[in-house]
Every structure is written in structure tokens, then in C-alpha cells.
Amino acid sequence: MSLYTDHLEIYKRSMLAPDYVIQKIIVAKHFIDNNYQGDISLNEISRASLISKFHFIRLFRKTYGRTPNQYLVEIRITKAKLMLKQGYAVSDVCVAVGFCSITSFTSLYKKITGHTPAYFRRLSSIKKAIPDNNFQI
């Protein structure tokens, strides 16, 4: 036992929500992980956890440190980044990761990653063509 393991025990006992609640939130997160490509609503996500919508938002935030919507956007942008690296067209990526409009996709992508999807795709293809360069994307 160390100071750190003692702290972990205290944290687990006194600061975490009960296990059965956490399990419900994890189920909702998995629902997002498996359905981010579609037009999923907060109602559907909270239904997956069997918790009322507003209580669910609060619990999700308490559990993961972000709102369900923030998490959904985060996962969509992560998947988009992977697809762009593989060379898919921006419009195809936009639809594939569940965005309805290229404008909102582009602006969110830029806000989160610092680049537009088109710029990132271009840079990735250059990097692939010249693998020994030292580009930072």
C-alpha cells in the first residue's frame, strides 16, 4: 500500500457515484461510441442509460468530466481525423461521422484541432508522400 493507493480507495468510496449508476452511464457512452455516425439525440442517449434526460446530463458530466454532447463531438472529430488521414473526401467524412452540414463540421473541426478538415487532409497526404519530413499536424 502507498499514499496513492490509499487516496484511490478514499476516492472510490466517497467521491464516485454508486457502481450501478456508473454502469448506466458507461452504457450510454458505449451507445455514443457505436452510434456517433447517425443523427442521435440526447433523448436516445439518455434512454440507453434508463435515466431521465436532465439527471443523465448531470451524471454523465460528473462521470466523464464533459457533457454527452461534448463527448459526441469529440468522438466524431477523432474519427473524422482518422478518415481524413486515410484520404477520404471532406464531404464524405462529414456525412460518415454524423454531421449534417459541411459548414458546422468545418467550423467545429477547426475549433477543436486548429485546422480546417481540407487543410489537415492536404497536409496528411503530403506527409504520406514524403514520410521523412518533420511536419507537425
Partner: protein, 128 residues
């Protein structure tokens, strides 16, 4: 402003490079001689354009004291994300890595803590 580099104090840069590349599986990114030491960074093999981890030589006595105190208290210096904590635990145990915390679920995450042999505890974390 962007976070591109985060640093980790190590007792010996060459040994640290060996551990972080050959055992953990990171990839060397920058190796720049700077007199007695070097500017040495590694990146994740799965995200080579991601943040760099600077393996920083221990050249400042108070830092040595701080590192030792954290290590003895079992407190991780930093945290790395993995897809599957149990799998990494098995893989790294097989390579002789010591763990001070075996895989344990902590609410929405599963964690484990390993000894990097360079003076630090490192926590691996999996989002459940």
C-alpha cells in the same frame, strides 16, 4: 498556444529511451545533442503527430528530491491512455515491468500503475 511537448524527468536518458521505445513501444522523434545531455523526445507509435514526451535529464537537485518523493508515495508523474489496460498489464508484465497498482476499475476508467525504471510511476488509463 498549443501543447506540443510535455516533460518527464529521467535518471538516465539512454536507459529511458530504451525503456520507452523497446518496452512501452513509443517511437523516438527528436534526438538533439546538447552538451552533456540531449533534447530527446518520443511519441506514441499510434499517434506520431501527437504530443511529444521529453525525456528530461535530472540535472536539478530539488527536482530529484521531488521525483523521489512522488515515487515513494506511489504517485504517478504522468498518465498514458491505452485501449485495454488488462492487455497492456499482461504484455508489460511479460516483459518484466513492475506494477505498483494492478488493473482496477475506478468508476468510468480502469487504471494500473507501472515503474518506468527511470524514477517515475506511470499510470495507464482506459476509458470504459
Amino acid at each position: 498556444m498549443k501543447i506540443k511537448i510535455t516533460s518527464l524527468p529521467v535518471k538516465n536518458q539512454d536507459e529511458a529511451l530504451k525503456f520507452y521505445t523497446e518496452i512501452l513501444g513509443f517511437v523516438k522523434k527528436t534526438d538533439l545533442p546538447l552538451g552533456e545531455h540531449k533534447w530527446l523526445t518520443v511519441v506514441s507509435n499510434e499517434e506520431q503527430d501527437g504530443a511529444e514526451l521529453l525525456l528530461e535529464p535530472m540535472g536539478f537537485e530539488p527536482a530529484r528530491v521531488y521525483q523521489k518523493a512522488l515515487f515513494e508515495a506511489g504517485i504517478p508523474w504522468t498518465v498514458f491512455n491505452v485501449e485495454d489496460v488488462d492487455k497492456e498489464f499482461e504484455r508489460l508484465s511479460g516483459l518484466g515491468v513492475n506494477f505498483s497498482v494492478k488493473p482496477i476499475a475506478m468508476g468510468p476508467v480502469k487504471i494500473t500503475v507501472l515503474d518506468d525504471t527511470c524514477g517515475n510511476n506511470i499510470q495507464l488509463i482506459q476509458l470504459l
